[in-house]
Amino acid sequence: MKLSNIFSRRNRILLRELVITDFKLRYQGSVLGYAWSILKPLFLFAIMYVVFGMLIKLGSVEHYSVYLLLGIVLWTFFSEATNQGMGSIVGRGDLLRKISFPKYIIVLSTTISALVNLMLNLTIVAIFMLINGVHLNVSAWMLPLYIVEIYVLALGLASLLSALNVKYRDTGHIWEIIMQAAFYATPIIYPLSIVIDKSEIAAKFIMMNPIAQAIQGARYSLITHDTATVASLFKNGWYVLIPIGIVIIIFAIGASYFKKNSKYFAENV
């Protein structure tokens, strides 16, 4: 699979059209349409904010609402990209059986739609930052890097899961459980500081999770420098290479498993 091939003319055309179709179909027949892609994380945020920001106060963080919203938005992106990516090959079985084209385009197109959704949601984050009077740090330029990190991880997982899902339809259920656990294992609703107070080792362990590392990094660069990051926790910035290494390994495994199995998708799907 050469890089020039991935972005050949025909594949670019196809990718673009599939992303557009995906968007057109997603909120087909709903009154609010695209607004739902913003409203859903916003409502999740509202619920979490009432429960964990007002009822059960989880530590004190500067700009907790924005802090929480950014976490939820990034998590939603990760969850959407992996979940929709996972179902994409089975869902597009009709195409696979009738036309020959590179299969990764399907996974790529669903993850890209998730990415487009993320961009919409980030504008909401920007509005919240304005309302809350969060000053934009110079370090905000780091945000795209964290998004790329989450995207690469999600793409690797989506490739792996979508290929597994062709063979074993249990994959979806297993992934649902894993995602539930991962949501609470990641400092999204709670600030990492409450874990650090109890056990620094546990906090360090949590931060080896690429999603946790990326979300904390994004919060640090965008909202407040009080956020605990890998660098502040280990007192050594180079430790960030561990979660990044995990991302690269997962991506490599996902891509190679997908490539090995994609030949037989049309027969097995």
């Binding site: 055309i13 196809l14 673009r16 179709t21 074993y168």
Partner: protein
């Protein structure tokens, strides 16, 4: 126009599928099967050592009964399936549309579907914008393009899909059973398009059941049966072989139908028809004939009660055609009073068929009615079948001795 250069080479191609026995798409079932020592699937050979070559610019047909491996072969050529063994070489660009309207989504408008389908055929938005007008015009759907596809009739969908598909420009086109759908006007559009392709340099690989279409367009064909290459070469030769094996199966089906019918039949109080058979010129019972043979239909009538002047008839149908092409009886044939018969009388009726019957499968329906023709004493809709093979005219039921004459006018 075929040239000597080759466009497709297939050598010793084999393909088999794993067919799961029962619901097997779960880890639990797989683990259970491992413990039980069950494989959980069956290997089915779909293509078995198939070899052929297609010349550049050739119109090549793939023929075979249902389940003979035609579509699998086409899908391997299109790169959708990977072969287990053997060589598949395709020279030049190949448009992989196996069916019309790939990717059509009922929730999108006609316009949106045009662009999506176009993208699958490799056209950019700019190119599609240029072609859009003529696509819509060809499909004759100008006023429907902003409606959702689910509100289209199936004929409209096919028209739209076909209008996009014929824009595809590539060296090799794969076409599967397109002609099976659409009304007569649409089919004639298809034929026009195929004639154009036939004259062009495009190589066309065409899968169809329609013997007429195959004969009209294909330079050469391959006949598959149970995944094996049965016949390969000149279209005429391959098609005559095909009608042979197609009938074999129909005949087997027919026997089971007849048996079940016989069991159901109620005892007729007045008279009974028995032993409907077809005979060759030596008077031997036979049901497969070659074109031009002398064929005689024979059946027996047994009277169970005294019967006066019954009408005895026979109707002959060609399979899949609604109108009988021969229907006659003793009244039509001029026997005003057929006579008085006593209980226990036994008659034998014979009827000679014209020798100009063209190839096909035929069904014999003998009947027996009362003098007024108002009550059927017995009628057997499927008493016997026979087959005729060969001849050179698959388009009509009968051939004629008269030939066409043409003269240049001054």
């Amino acid at each position: 126009m075929p040239s000597q250069e080759l466009a497709v080479i297939v050598k010793n191609l084999c393909k088999s599928f794993k067919l799961p026995h029962e619901q097997h798409s779960g880890i639990k079932q797989r683990i259970i099967n491992i413990f039980k020592g069950i494989k959980g699937y069956e290997i089915q050979k779909v293509l078995d050592d198939v070899s052929f070559e297609i010349k550049k610019g050739e119109f090549f047909g793939i023929v075979g009964r249902n389940g003979s491996g035609k579509s699998t072969l086409l899908k391997i050529l299109a790169g959708i399936y990977v072969p287990d063994k053997g060589l598949v070489q395709v020279k030049g660009s190949l448009t992989p549309f196996i069916e019309l309207g790939v990717g059509f989504n009922p929730e999108l408008t006609g316009r949106e579907n045009v662009f999506l389908n176009g993208a699958l055929l490799g056209f950019s938005e700019v190119e599609m914008n240029e072609m859009y007008g003529s696509i819509v015009e060809f499909a004759e759907l100008e006023s429907f393009m902003d409606q959702k596809l689910k509100n289209y009739s199936s004929g409209m969908q096919v028209r739209l899909a076909f209008s996009i598909a014929i824009r595809a420009r590539s060296d090799i086109l794969l076409v599967d059973e397109v002609l099976a759908v659409g009304d007569a006007a649409f089919q004639s559009k298809c034929f026009d398009y195929f004639y154009k392709l036939k004259k062009s340099d495009t190589t066309v690989i065409f899968v169809s059941h329609d013997q007429g279409a195959l004969e009209r367009f294909c330079d050469r064909c391959i006949l598959l049966d149970k995944g094996m290459n049965i016949s390969y070469g000149e279209t005429k030769k391959v098609l005559s072989k095909y009608s042979g094996i197609a009938f074999e199966r129909l005949e087997n089906d027919e026997i089971t139908i007849n048996n079940s019918k016989k069991n159901e039949k109620k005892a007729s109080p007045q008279a009974m028809i028995e032993n409907t058979v077809t005979l060759d010129e030596d008077g031997d019972e036979k049901n497969k004939f070659s074109y031009g043979s002398k064929i005689t239909i024979e059946y027996d009538i047994k009277f169970l009660k005294d019967t006066n002047n019954p009408i005895m008839g026979v109707t002959i149908w060609q399979k899949n055609v609604d109108k009988a092409f021969i229907a006659t009886n003793t009244l039509i044939d001029g026997y005003k009073d057929s006579g008085a018969f006593k209980k226990g009388d036994h008659l034998r009726l014979t009827f000679k068929l014209p020798r100009t019957l063209n190839s096909g499968e035929y069904i014999i329906e003998p009947a027996l009615a009362n003098e007024a023709g108002t009550v059927f004493y017995d009628k057997q809709p499927n008493a016997a079948t026979f087959f005729i093979n060969g001849g050179n005219n698959p388009y009509s039921i009968l051939s004629f001795d008269e030939k066409m004459i043409y003269k240049k006018q001054p």
